[in-house]
């Protein structure tokens, strides 16, 4: 299992968390998504290494901006 954290801007509420989670859960290998709206952080658990470009695209599809990946 791999766990990666990302800084994401634009989140304000539980709906924001839901929309980002929906998009990230569609990525192959993703097993869990945890969103901390107050800290602008999204943590993705997966059974394989994820391509940062795929994660960024999913976050942007939901309308938000991936700022940094924390690994």
């Amino acid at each position: 299992m791999t766990e990666s954290s990302y800084s994401v801007s634009g989140m304000a509420c539980g709906h924001c968390a839901d929309f980002i989670t929906e998009e990230l859960e569609q990525l192959a290998g993703v097993t869990a998504v945890a969103v901390d709206v107050e800290c602008d952080t999204v943590t993705v658990t997966s059974d394989r290494d994820l391509d940062i470009a795929d994660v960024r695209a999913a976050v942007e599809e939901a309308g938000y901006e991936l700022i940094t990946a924390h690994g």
């Binding site: 634009g10 304000a12 509420c13 539980g14 709906h15 924001c16 929309f19 107050e38 939901a62 309308g63």
Partner: protein, 138 residues
């Protein structure tokens, strides 16, 4: 002078939500300019315990503009005292192909020219459309 005198408190809140929303979606203006039209520079908004300042409000305009939600506002009750307002509203939203309604309870402070200085909000997402209760619809 109270910011709520011109239209009355219920219409003020409905207009605040809708005008802000429509300006974001209908104009290409810089988000900061729009945020500043409706909020003071030191605005603090706490919604369900989550704190938003001007910077966070600006950041949140990005998903709103991308997803272009539709919004209808019902204000059920609104009470004012000077610069303060307390209101109970239902926001009917269509966002990312989902339709839902959010009961919103807000205690806010506004400037004389109608900009939000501070707001504490509690929200509750409703599972389905609520029965009709139309005091003010906008």
């Amino acid at each position: 002078m109270s910011p709520f005198n011109d239209t009355g408190p219920k219409q003020f809140i409905a207009d605040f939500y809708l005008s802000f929303h429509n300006d974001l979606l209908d104009s290409g203006e810089d988000p900061g300019v729009i945020i500043d039209r409706y909020h003071t520079a030191d605005v603090v908004q706490i919604a369900d315990g989550l704190r938003m300042d001007r910077e966070k409000l600006i950041a949140h305009t990005r998903p709103v503009r991308k997803n272009r939600p539709s919004l209808r506002v019902e204000v059920h009750d609104a009470l004012v005292d000077g610069e303060q307002i307390a209101a109970r509203s239902t926001l009917h939203v269509r966002y990312r192909k989902k339709t839902f309604a959010i009961d919103t309870y807000v205690f806010g402070r506004f400037t004389e020219d109608g900009r939000m200085r501070q707001a504490h909000m509690l929200t509750r997402t409703l599972p389905a459309e609520v029965p009709e209760e139309r005091e003010v619809s906008a």
